[in-house]
């Protein structure tokens, strides 16, 4: 069975994660409960005419994928696979609002067209004239991991040699206010948001676009090998450790073989216990990393997590800003990621040098 390598990454997030090495310019914003993406210079990638009416998610997807392809030194790919929880939600809101406010009259199609979930993947394909396989996964917090699994399966089965896979989600005003109303996002407050030591419901919200070029060959640009991943719709809190042990066993590994664990802490007191249990027990002696204080929580935030893991393996360093304990290892060769959202859509991703 062929192996899968992460050969290029492109990450747009609430931090400056493009044209940088590894979070050296990152700043932890503790004042806001919603984080917004740091915009690249779009005109370097998309003509101003094309980008004028283009949804943010599409623009960000195109730019992030361009960075990933450039790093991997490829000009086209065999397949494009996108994960997105909400698609281009701003256009969805725009079209919905127009329908309701104008009683179904005076509508134009642009917002409707862009609201379709597979628009990002389609526009990337259109930009590079890629006629290959093009899938979009839309299943909450495992939208991105579904794409990774699909891509890995194609590379293993010899169906493709080079695949662009990414996760993209954007902030929309209306959905943000609804999420606040429903208590998914933390209440507005004056005291700083701490993420790890929160005692309240809700998370810090964010947005981002993060793409990867996966290939069957190791090359100079290689970050890491994507060893295995697993998706589970539901798990009880007390089932997670066993699940991880079984998952590692399938890959002939034990907990002690893991050089660092990347956990999806998002500040929600109700569900962060899923991570906390692991951090305090099974992985108490493992270097621990968290990242959502930098990018915020969104359906495809775990793509930022994989970007973080890939960077650690490639640079063999862990920036202080993302360490949640002080344990160190002489080398970071094998990294495990665990993510879930609201106790659902669990994913385990294993990468190695």
């Amino acid at each position: 069975m062929r192996k899968t390598y992460i050969n290029g990454t492109g990450c747009l997030s609430a931090q400056k994660t493009f044209d940088t090495v590894f979070l050296e310019d990152a700043e932890w914003n503790k004042n806001d409960n919603v984080l917004f993406l740091k915009k690249p210079v779009y005109k370097d990638f998309i003509s101003p005419i094309a980008s004028r009416r283009m949804a943010n998610g599409i623009k960000n997807g195109i730019v992030a994928s361009a960075y990933a392809m450039k790093e991997a030194n490829v000009t086209n790919v065999d397949a494009i696979i996108t994960g997105t929880g909400m698609g281009c939600i701003e256009d969805t809101e725009k079209f919905l609002k127009a329908i309701i406010d104008n009683n179904e009259e005076f509508l134009t199609p642009t917002a409707f067209i862009q609201s379709t979930h597979n628009t990002v993947g389609a526009q990337i394909a259109l930009t590079m004239q890629c006629k290959g396989y093009n899938f979009t996964y839309v299943n909450g917090a495992i939208s991105f991991e579904s794409g990774l699994l699909d891509a890995k399966m194609q590379i293993e089965e010899n169906e493709a040699n080079s695949i662009l896979v990414g996760g993209v989600d954007e902030n929309g005003d209306h959905i943000l206010s609804l999420f606040k109303l429903a208590g998914y996002i933390k209440e507005d407050r004056k005291e700083p948001y701490q993420l790890l030591n929160e005692t309240t419901k809700g998370y810090i919200h964010g947005e981002g676009a993060c793409f990867f070029v996966l290939e069957n060959e190791k090359k100079e640009s290689t970050y890491a090998q994507l060893v295995d991943l697993e998706i589970k719709n539901v798990l009880q809190e007390d089932e997670i450790e066993t699940e991880i042990i079984d998952f590692l066993k399938l890959n002939n590994l034990e907990i002690s073989d893991i050089d660092a664990i990347i956990l999806g802490f998002n500040g929600d007191v109700e569900f962060d216990s899923y991570y906390k249990n692991l951090a305090e027990n099974a992985f108490a002696n493992t270097p621990q990393i968290y990242y959502k204080h930098l990018c915020g929580e969104y359906n495809t935030a775990s793509a930022f997590g994989l970007w973080t893991g890939s960077k650690i393996i490639k640079t063999q360093t862990i920036p202080e800003l993302i360490k949640s304990n002080s344990i160190e290892r002489p080398a970071y060769n094998t990294i495990l990621l665990y993510n879930q959202l609201n106790g659902k859509d669990h994913s385990f991703t294993l990468i190695s040098k």
Partner: protein
């Protein structure tokens, strides 16, 4: 040819029936169900016709015996009905006995609730339970939870080819041994959002859709859900399961031409069909029936027709029909309901009629089968194309 992945169960709800049997009876009796919309209040009610399931959400909730306080979107309700029928049809009693997954497909997700309560959410705490239902993944989550499935659950959204891609992924997951059993399909409810979206694109017919007709004026939207159960040959053998048919070929390609229009020569469609033939190791001449995408928009039928002619270059095109005059275009569910119809065609050795056809298109010589035709059916090809140039082809074959 390859053996393909075994289909051991199917379930469906559409405007022409609430079960596989009801759908079949409608198909062989020319009983289309394109009507005036009743469940959604829209200013377009008098100018469009739709393939609407004539059951209210309350009726669906009662049929499913769900808690009245549940927060199911209509899309999830329809999905659950079809999944339950498929699971029962496959004779599954213990859902987690094997490594089982669920791959759903939807384009609207819980949009019906979002558009209903868009502003009400701020005033009325009681309806806030639907906020989370907007998310497309919520549909699959709810279905999995109702049938007690624990495992790989995901959702595909590639516009009108979504369910074809769910079936394709499911088949690949079985082939690679990642799963032993997988429930695959799609579901979409009618919503003001899609009605108005397609209206602005000016591809809705003001009458009844007429696929591959020179006078075709656009599509009728519909709502539906259908799911298949795919199982590994190990399970089929061990449990001596009845195999309804097999998924023998599949292919997805991108037209990379335009966000909402298909290329003139149907490049994406051609490539998708080519890939499917390669996977199935079948020659195009071995196909007995093509269930075309055939939405009856001027653009789709021209592009699809040209792609089919490219595949059948200088050879005769098999019998083909579009079943969308029966059900309307059911978006993410379309490929799933048409998969059920393809399997029914194989099981009953029939070609379903393409209704409303009168005048052949000027651009080429392609005439759909307009009456029910009985003949041996070994292989059916089913096309589904969506926005974003997303083109998918599935091939279903008789179990040998």
């Amino acid at each position: 040819m390859v053996k393909g992945v075994a289909i051991t169960g199917m379930g469906i709800i559409s405007s022409i029936g609430n079960s596989v049997e009801e759908n079949y009876i409608s198909l062989i009796n020319n009983k289309a169900a394109i009507t005036t919309i009743e469940n959604i209040s829209t200013v377009h009610a008098n100018s469009i016709k739709v393939g609407e399931i004539k059951k209210t959400n309350a009726e669906l909730i009662a049929q499913l015996q769900l808690d009245k306080e549940s927060n199911f979107s209509r899309t999830a309700l329809l999905g659950l009905i079809a999944v339950k029928e498929a699971v029962a049809n496959a004779g599954i009693t213990s859902i987690n006995e094997y490594k089982t997954g669920l791959i759903s497909a939807t384009t609207v997700g819980g949009m019906d609730m979002t558009e209903k309560y868009y502003y009400d959410y701020f005033e009325n705490p009681e309806v806030r339970k639907y906020i989370i239902s907007h998310n497309c993944g919520d549909v699959a989550q709810k279905i999995a939870s109702e049938i007690g499935l624990k495992g790989m659950v995901t959702t595909i959204s590639t516009a009108c080819s979504s369910a074809a891609n769910a079936i394709m992924l499911g088949a690949r997951l079985i082939k690679t041994g990642k799963l032993d059993r997988v429930i695959v399909g799609g579901t979409d409810a009618l919503a003001k959002f899609t009605i108005n979206g397609f209206k602005t694109l000016m591809i809705l017919s003001d009458g009844y859709n007429k696929p591959f007709d020179d006078e075709r004026k656009g599509l009728n939207l519909g709502e539906a859900s259908a799911f298949l159960v795919l199982e590994s040959d190990e399970i089929v053998k061990k449990e001596n399961k009845k195999v309804l048919a097999r998924v023998s070929g599949y292919g997805n390609a991108n037209d990379a031409f335009h966000q909402t229009a298909s290329s003139e020569n149907g490049d994406g469609a051609y490539l998708a069909m080519k890939k499917a033939f390669n996977v199935a190791a079948l020659d195009p001449s071995e196909i007995d029936y093509i269930n075309v995408h055939g939405t009856a928009t001027p653009n789709n039928d021209l592009s699809e027709g040209r792609a089919i002619l490219r595949i059948y270059y200088e050879k005769s095109v098999p019998d083909f029909s579009s079943t969308k005059p029966f059900t309307g275009h059911t978006l993410a569910a379309a490929a799933a309901i048409e998969a059920v119809y393809s399997i029914l065609a194989i099981q009953n050795n029939v070609v379903f009629p393409s209704l409303n056809f009168e005048t052949p298109m000027q651009e080429f010589n392609l005439t759909p089968q307009t009456t029910l035709k009985h003949k041996n059916i070994e292989h059916v090809l089913s096309n589904s194309f969506g926005f974003g140039g997303n083109c998918s082809t599935l091939i279903f074959s008789k179990n040998k």
